[in-house]
């Protein structure tokens, strides 16, 4: 249980020939269930939860207001002008889609690579994905101007005999993001079903039992079911892996298939995917650090998990840094006047401040993660992850706004300045994300209970403890759990 101290066990080092423990301080399965279910079963969440929920709720109310104001007035309330026809809306869209990618990476790609440490963090990383994609979906929805015609995005037979234009990357985006949302939701829900059954079986109240019972679909842990379940989970992971790569590639096509200098580059798809994973992992760290602290999950989301995530941030940060450099090289090497100008303008033009915030947050700060002291220091990693979040927001802003504001013809140049509606919508999306995430922390198991049990050494039928002593009476682990049950 969470009362067992974690800090005297260091699982961040590697002993040759031995696997580092992923679950600390828990000697049997029942304790794991207790630790994970406690935040959902306590009468009241911690005070910090209420404070965060209050702030997020205020931001959501503000979001409701600004979105209504936008729809009733028109997109003129944003700071858009003639060359800069996309700004905060698409910046926020790309930012939130990117955040989502870490969840799918953890749940799908790390699963295929048999990275067992993913079990500690996959549940809430996947939840983060879903909520981030909800926030992302908001922006294209409202930026179309006439929201009531948003159904034109889909190939629905209509009286005008009008079809969407399938050669446009914007339409590919509709399909990519909606598929991504659906598949992420399925993946998350499939993982949740056995844990909802656990919650159902532990529920004290009738309402909880009914609700968890309904959504657990009558799961009874049957091994014949587990067999198909594991197959289906593997297939979903294998399907999500190319999907996640395709989604941000398609998002990057929105820019790359245009002819605008600064957008028209072939490096965009891999560069966007690396950036998405980079920002997403930073967001996972931002969320994991307070969550494990507040809800007593330090023995399940151990320092090793955080250390590993920081290594991923370092690697993807270097990839993003390489992409920044390569963009400049290609601009110079192409010899194209407009390309060269676009990049010089990024670094030294009217938005140079945004560019240098981006570079310092995304390229320079993650380099501190080369030091193990930084990777395993909770306050430092939290601060660095915030820096990365800010930097990645600015990356999208720089790509979108600087390229548009100063394009081919100097006479059409202009400057984008956000209005209060722009800023209100951006903050509102963070509020929406916060509310959804806090509700998730309160009502659903934050860690995949069944999966964490599966990576404990005790889960192996050949574990030495099971063969030293036959029979329950002399088994220390079993005896321990029996005691815990009586109390």
């Amino acid at each position: 249980m969470s009362t067992i101290p974690a800090h005297d066990i260091d699982n961040t080092g590697d002993v040759p020939g031995k696997r580092a423990a992923l679950v600390l301080g828990h000697t049997d399965f029942h304790q794991v269930t207790n630790t994970i279910c406690r935040p959902n079963e306590t009468r009241k969440p911690p005070m910090a939860w209420y404070i965060m929920f209050g702030i997020s709720m205020l931001l959501v109310m503000n979001l409701g207001f600004v979105v209504h104001y936008l729809i009733f007035t028109g997109v003129g309330v944003w700071g858009l002008n003639n060359p800069v026809m996309w700004a905060f809306d698409i910046t926020n869209f790309v930012f939130w889609v990117g955040i989502g990618h870490a969840g799918t990476l953890i749940s799908a790609i790390l699963f295929l690579f048999r990275q067992k440490w993913r079990t500690g963090i996959n549940r809430f990383a996947e939840a983060m994905t879903i909520f981030a994609v909800i926030c992302a979906g908001l922006f294209p929805g409202i930026h179309v101007g006439r929201v009531w015609l948003a159904y034109w995005l889909f190939p629905i037979p209509n009286q005008m005999a009008m079809w969407p234009q399938f050669r446009s990357p914007l339409l590919w985006d509709v399909f990519a993001v909606s598929t991504y949302f659906t598949v992420s939701l399925l993946f998350w829900y499939v993982g949740l079903v056995p844990d909802l059954a656990t919650m159902r079986d532990r529920a004290k109240g009738k309402v909880q039992q009914m609700a968890y019972g309904l959504f657990s679909l009558g799961w009874r842990g049957s091994n014949r079911h587990w067999h198909r379940y594991e197959r289906a989970y593997l297939l979903l992971a294998a399907l999500s892996t190319p999907l996640v790569l395709s989604v941000h590639s398609v998002v990057s096509f929105d820019f790359a298939t245009s002819q605008l200098p600064g957008w028209h580059t072939t490096i965009f798809p891999p560069y966007f995917v690396a950036g998405a994973i980079f920002s997403g992992f930073a967001m996972v760290v931002t969320l994991a650090v307070p969550a494990r602290e507040l809800f007593g999950l330090k023995n399940l989301i151990t320092l090793r998990h955080l250390d590993n995530m920081n290594k991923v941030i370092l690697v993807t940060g270097c990839m993003v840094g390489y992409a920044y450099g390569m963009e400049f090289f290609i601009a110079w090497y192409s010899g194209a006047l407009y390309e060269k100008f676009a990049f010089m303008n990024r670094a030294f033009g009217q938005y140079a401040w945004a560019y240098w915030i981006m570079v310092s947050c995304n390229v320079i700060t993650p380099q501190l993660f080369w030091f193990k002291k930084v990777r395993t220091s909770i306050p430092l990693m939290f601060i660095l992850s915030l820096f990365v979040n800010v930097g990645m927001w600015f990356e999208r802003f720089v790509i979108i706004v600087t390229s548009l504001a100063n394009d081919f013809l100097p006479s059409s140049w202009d400057r984008f300045v956000p209005t209060w509606v722009d800023i209100g919508t951006m903050l509102g999306a963070f509020g929406l994300f916060g509310v959804l995430f806090l509700l998730f922390c309160r009502f659903l198991p934050m860690i995949a209970i069944a999966e964490v049990k599966g990576v404990m050494p005790q889960a192996d039928p050949h574990w030495e403890g099971w063969h030293q002593s036959h029979g329950a009476g002399s088994n220390p682990a079993a005896a321990h759990s029996a005691q815990g049950d009586n109390s």
Binding site: P164, V190, S222
Partner: protein, 204 residues
């Protein structure tokens, strides 16, 4: 293992009239359930199952479960998704003819930047996304259907002891409809496997 108990979980007043659903045996750990599953399999039972809080490695083999055909079905669904994506885009953007799909609909060959009507490369992303969408939906849907879920009620849920199947205990259930099921003999079989407790479950 000192107390081998057999009892019905339903109240005694209904127990006489209710039909027996089967027997449930409790085990302490993964090693025991794998060993027990091998023995039960070899006794020739058909309508039986193991219930575990997480998938136990090696239990599929111990139970003699055949590999599921789910991946084949998912492949078919994926191919259907890919074809749907191609057909949808060719119809709506490349040709001009009318078909009946719930309503009469007419395609329209878009001329965009002088690109050819049959611009297959531009259609690849949507084909890909629909392949994934169809595969994932059918993967999850078929998995639950083949498992007979959702089934919100099951006689096993009347057994209090069985609640720990989702926590830290491992169970074998043998249904009364199994041709080899004889209450006393089956109970003896389960006890011989090292069950910590055996309980009868009635239909309700």
């Amino acid at each position: 293992m000192t107390t081998l108990t057999t009892q019905t979980s339903a109240p005694s007043s209904t127990a006489t009239s209710a039909r027996l659903y089967g027997l449930v045996a409790e085990f302490e750990n993964p090693a025991q359930i794998v060993a027990a599953a091998e023995k039960i399999r070899d006794k020739g039972y058909r309508y039986w199952d193991c219930h575990t809080p997480f998938p136990v490695h090696g239990l599929d083999k111990a139970m003699g479960i055949q590999r599921t055909i789910l991946p084949v079905l998912v492949f078919v669904a994926g191919a259907a998704g890919c074809t749907t994506g191609l057909a949808l885009q060719l119809f709506t953007n490349s040709f001009n003819f009318t078909i009946w799909a719930l309503v009469w609909v007419t395609g329209y060959p878009f001329l965009i930047s002088g690109k050819p009507a049959l611009s297959i490369p531009a259609f690849v992303p949507v084909m890909f996304e629909l392949t994934i969408l169809f595969s994932a939906l059918s993967c999850v849907g078929l998995m639950f259907l083949m498992n007979g879920l959702p089934r919100l009620h099951n006689p096993l849920f009347t057994c209090d002891r069985f609640r720990r199947a989702s926590d830290d205990r491992f169970f074998i259930s043998i249904e009364a409809r199994d041709p080899r099921f004889y209450r006393s003999k089956t109970e003896a079989d389960l006890k011989a496997c090292g069950a910590a407790a055996v309980e009868a479950v009635v239909e309700d």
